[in-house]
């Protein structure tokens, strides 16, 4: 098979869609106005971000007033959680979340716990990383003020039953937040159907540029902004808006949710082919996360007898961009907290492989990856024994 370069790391980030870039271009060039200015430059920029807000609101089935644009998914999670905690600190100081959240959530609740006197309960997860609604019900106490459960997991792709969790929280009078960063381009985001009070999204996960996110806060949710200043974004997130990025996000979310089911079906078929090929050709490889309740383009594995970093390196050399489940900054290897939480051993938690497909992948590319991945694993294993 001819050598190519295939990008299979869409959970990390995606390419800007050509139509998105086209929509953004005026705001990177001539239309440089500050949307908060009174003059016509400002007015045109203001109209552009309000159009984007309506595009997002249409997908979320909410009022544009409930949408704030932020700098990234992490910022949205921070604003959401800290905002509820601060607003309800007199009512109670108990937070509920899961051990498999993104660090944007985990580090935020940890700081609330260590610095501000809050208490955190981490829900149990099963071997697929799924939370049970019963466990949420059992964890809620009179002083519980917030439940935060991610929509879909970045490392293992598992989708949580957030509509059911949200319904329970509503019944019990507890605010419910979901980190929907990974789900953003693929799963239904109707906040009423999902019973969500706060939601975080990140544009670059669905073909918008980096540096722009969304925070949804349902009207009348007890919440206060921790980004104070000039009162932009209805006072929810002060700071001059990233106009071009916001315009891009608006265009991108609309594109992502047009023909969503058909695109997901195509992604699932390609993903299942890739997973099948790898499991069939290589011993000592396990799929991680839920086999069916998972993001459509998401495949994740634990690969035995291979160093995760060598595997990624080898795949890159042969033309497949992949990632590992474990955080790997400046060469330090730490076991994945997600894999540890679903019962993996330390060694397993350090040998994750994640292949995430996107709409811009072709069947030919997936066939190439299905041939390359087994070959690279087997060659590394051949020399690993001494």
């Amino acid at each position: 098979m001819e050598k190519q370069y295939v990008y299979l790391d869409h959970s990390a980030t995606t390419a800007i869609h050509p139509d998105v870039l086209e929509a953004m271009m005026p705001y990177l060039t001539d239309e440089y106005g500050n949307p908060n200015s009174l003059h016509r430059y400002g007015q045109r920029a203001q109209r552009a971000i309000e159009k984007a807000r309506r595009q997002v609101a249409a997908v979320l089935n909410c009022s544009p007033r409930e949408i704030a644009f932020t700098g990234c998914g992490t910022e949205s999670d921070n604003l959401a959680i800290r905002g509820v905690a601060f607003a309800l600190r007199e009512k109670g100081r108990h937070l509920i979340t899961t051990p498999i959240e993104h660090k944007a959530v985990l580090q935020t609740v940890k700081q609330l716990e260590e610095q501000f006197g809050f208490e955190v309960t981490y829900l149990p997860v099963d071997a697929y990383g799924r939370v049970s609604v019963d466990d949420v019900a059992n964890a809620i106490r009179p002083d519980t003020i917030l439940v935060s459960v991610m929509y879909a997991n970045n490392e293992i792709g598992t989708i949580q039953p957030i509509a059911d969790i949200g319904a329970l929280c509503r019944e019990r009078g507890v605010v419910f937040h979901t980190d929907a960063v990974q789900a953003g381009g693929y799963l239904p985001l109707d906040v009423d159907a999902l019973n969500v009070d706060l939601m975080a999204l990140s544009g670059h996960k669905f073909h918008a540029p980096k540096g722009v996110g969304v925070l949804y806060v349902r009207r009348r949710t007890p919440w206060l902004s921790t980004m104070t200043g000039g009162g932009q974004e209805h006072g929810m997130r002060s700071g001059t808006q990233n106009v071009a990025g916001i315009v891009g996000l608006g265009a991108a979310i609309e594109i992502a949710h047009t023909d969503r089911d058909a695109k997901n079906a195509r992604l699932r078929a390609m993903r299942d082919h890739l997973v099948g090929a790898i499991l069939e050709q290589v011993d000592d490889v396990q799929l991680t996360g839920h086999p069916t309740e998972r993001l459509p383009g998401h495949a994740s594995f634990v690969v035995g007898n291979v160093d995760a970093d060598s595997l990624l390196l080898g795949l890159d050399l042969e033309g497949v961009a992949a990632s590992s489940g474990s955080a790997c900054s400046s060469g330090a290897i730490t076991p994945s907290h997600v894999l540890s939480a679903i019962g993996a051993t330390k060694r397993e938690a350090m040998s994750a492989l994640r292949l995430t497909l996107g709409d811009d992948n072709t069947e030919e590319e997936v066939a190439y990856a299905a041939e390359v991945v087994p070959r690279v694993i087997q060659r590394l294993r051949q020399y690993a024994r001494t």
Binding site: S310, L313, G314, L317, S330, R379, Y383, A384, T386
Partner: protein, 383 residues
């Protein structure tokens, strides 16, 4: 030995690099960010290899150099600056660059034996252990596993395939820089897949090349310290890492049996050491032995340091073990000159080394390396 004019660097035939024209073969270059490995990568790129730069992350100890700007503590090896220099060089030649984490094998195969050796009265050379295990076993296997035909490093040594079909290891052409000593443990299987491009050049030629190619590191100082001991103070490192109570004060005893005082712990002394004993005596006193069983430091006059015969272990013979005693030359430590010796192979990868001229301070734990003129024949660790 003819030297290679630097202007001919693009012509691989001048370099006698083993064993054949590159033809786009893949080579993993172990990068340190320093000038030697950078020039090695550059040369291989110019010669037509597909170069992949890899920097090893070997140690993340708590003891390190504090970066004054960021407060970040890092070690002498793989500092952010070194990583950036290596990455920049790879960028310039269009080569991929990766950091490869080998902290676990490094701790097991290098740092722990280093501490253990000191606690057993030896003076280890950790580079020997690292080269035998981490660099030329783990990294070589990784390179092969990545589909590379070769692993290259910036060592000053040469590998040449002889008419006898064997790979021969020679000193680097620059006598000041020769590093064949730390490579004595290489085997035929390993040498077949190793390239040492700068071994065919002198250090001034390497620096000149770096300058010609506009590399920013042409004037970097040499790094000589043990890479995982950032402060350069191995005593402090041992105090911190040895098990509690493992290092104890004990008696200083003269070879004539007289008790002369107290030492602070055997690992803090080196054979042949004269200063820092703090004992007034009518003639200069040297550390001549460490009696591990009695936790005693044995001192005596210079004559008592003389050794006529010594045994070595973990012996490697690059061209195969000889049938009986051989009359060759040996180095008893890294920068020592070669001296005549008779080396007699013993069972169990050992050998007995006899010096026709007795040697001073033959130190257990150090490498004893065999030579025949410019060729390194192997070596072992002094028991």
């Amino acid at each position: 030995m003819t030297t290679v004019p630097v202007c001919d660097i693009r012509d691989w035939t001048q370099l006698n690099v083993n064993p054949a024209p590159p033809n786009g073969k893949r080579v993993v270059v172990a990068m340190s960010g320093g000038v030697d490995s950078s020039v090695a990568a550059l040369m291989l790129h110019e010669q037509g290899y597909e170069v992949i730069g890899v920097m090893l992350r070997l140690w993340a100890g708590e003891q390190g150099v504090v970066d004054e700007r960021t407060g970040f503590v890092h070690n002498r090896c793989c500092t952010p600056d070194a990583v950036e220099d290596a990455r920049a060089l790879c960028d310039a030649i269009g080569a991929p660059f990766f950091l490869k984490n080998l902290e676990e094998p490094f701790r097991e195969a290098v740092v722990e034996p280093f501490i253990d050796a000191y606690l057993h009265g030896k003076t280890p050379n950790p580079c020997l252990h690292c080269n035998r295990t981490v660099r030329f076993t783990h990294l070589l296997n990784i390179a092969r596993g990545l589909g590379a035909d070769y692993l290259a490093t910036g060592h000053y040594a040469r590998v040449v395939k002889g008419d006898d079909g064997l790979y021969h290891l020679y000193k680097g052409v620059d006598p000041q820089k020769d590093q064949s000593y730390v490579l004595y443990s290489l085997t035929q299987e390993k040498l077949a897949h190793l390239l040492f491009p700068v071994g065919h050049l002198t250090k001034p030629q390497v620096r000149e090349l770096a300058r010609q190619y506009g590399m920013p590191l042409a004037n970097k100082p040499e790094s000589q310290e043990i890479c995982f001991i950032a402060t350069g103070d191995y005593r402090q490192f041992l105090r911190r890492h040895a098990p509690p109570g493992a290092i104890k004060p004990g008696p200083i005893i003269h070879v004539n049996g007289r008790n002369l005082g107290r030492h602070e712990g055997l690992p803090f002394y080196t054979l042949g050491q004269r200063r820092g004993l703090g004992i007034p005596w009518h003639e200069p006193l040297y550390v001549v032995a460490k009696d591990h069983a009695r936790n005693a430091l044995i001192v005596g006059p210079r004559d008592a340091l003389r050794t006529e015969t010594v045994e070595i272990e973990q012996v490697n013979w690059i061209l195969g073990e000889p049938d009986g005693p051989v009359d060759i030359e040996v180095r008893i430590r890294y920068k020592a000159p070669e001296v005549p010796a008779i080396v007699e192979p013993l069972p169990g990868d050992r050998a007995r080394v006899t010096f026709p001229v007795p040697q001073q301070a033959v130190t257990p734990g150090q490498g004893l390396v065999f030579y025949d003129g410019d060729e390194c024949l192997g070596g072992g660790l002094i028991i």
